[in-house]
């Protein structure tokens, strides 16, 4: 049972590494979907089936579809891939790579040196999640809906500003 966790974790790490290093945006997006699906499987193994389903439906589907729509509208061609190649030189990788590696080493060391807890991850049903969400965290739920509304209005405003600029350009 735990072997599946390690395989899935390795898949997630590999796919995420490919996302960061690709030059083509669409290839990176496909790898990102693989990474999100792997994390969804890990959620399922941790005893969180509701969140695993949400990860697939919202993250790997809805949000990624928005990304694909934007890439389709921008119509990025081979020119941008070439541009990425010139941007991603090894000298650019050195500084942030060393810093990120140092941070990762510290985190792994701190977590590995703590006393290991053999956690028996039990199943948490969607009913329990819903009871917490609509009980104690009700204000948070309302605030999340307000945040989504603000995101909607913000995106709409930015799109409208673009159209106004286009109309002004034609006159």
């Amino acid at each position: 049972m735990s072997a599946t966790f390690y395989v899935t974790g390795a898949v997630a790490l590999l796919a995420t590494f490919m996302v960061v290093t690709r030059t083509s945006a669409v290839h990176a997006l496909l790898y990102l979907i693989v990474s999100l699906l792997a994390v969804a499987i890990i959620f399922y193994q941790l005893g969180a089936p509701f969140v695993a389903a949400l990860e697939v439906i919202i993250y790997a589907a809805a949000i990624m579809v928005v990304f694909i729509f934007v890439m389709m509208m921008l119509n990025l061609g081979p020119r941008t891939v070439q541009q990425e190649r010139t941007w991603l030189t090894p000298t650019i990788w050195v500084g942030p790579g060393v810093l990120a590696l140092a941070l990762a080493a510290q985190l792994v060391y701190a977590l590995a040196s703590s006393t290991p807890v053999e956690a028996g991850f039990g199943l948490i049903t969607p009913k329990q999640v819903g009871q917490r969400l609509f009980g104690v965290y009700f204000i948070g739920l309302e605030l999340a809906s307000l945040l989504l509304l603000a995101g909607l209005v913000g995106a709409l405003h930015l799109a409208r500003a673009q159209r106004r600029a286009e109309i002004k350009g034609t006159l």
Binding site: M1, S2, G9, A12, T16, V19, V20, A25, A28, L29, L32, V39, I42, F43, L46, G47, A48, F50, V51, L54, Y59, I63, V66, F67, V70, M73, W87, L88, G95, P96, G97, A100, L103, A104, L107, V108, L111, A112, P116, V117, E118, A119, F121, G122, I124, Q128, V129, Q131, R132, G140, A144, L147, L148, G151, G154, A155, L158, A159, Q162, A165
Partner: protein, 102 residues
Amino acid sequence: MLLVPMDTVLILASLLFVMGLLGVLVRRNVIFILMSIEIMLNAAGLAFVAAGARWHTADGQVMFLFVLAMAAAEVSVGLALVMRLHHQWSTLDADVASNLRG
């Protein structure tokens, strides 16, 4: 269910987070920066869910739902900004946005 130490899951989450951070630091393309932010949010969500499962409480999953809503709102505004950037300067270079005025 799963017989894996809690630390292993947290190590996986932190490695995913650091990779997202590396992406934000290295890439110049705005779309890649947004994708790396998604990776970081997802790693934080994994840590939340693992902690919730460790203590047998649904709170971690509730927090993940909030992270999810935040990511959705952030992506919608971020991608609208990407479209504006591309429309204005016909490039996705994040450095170009340093020329913003008024």
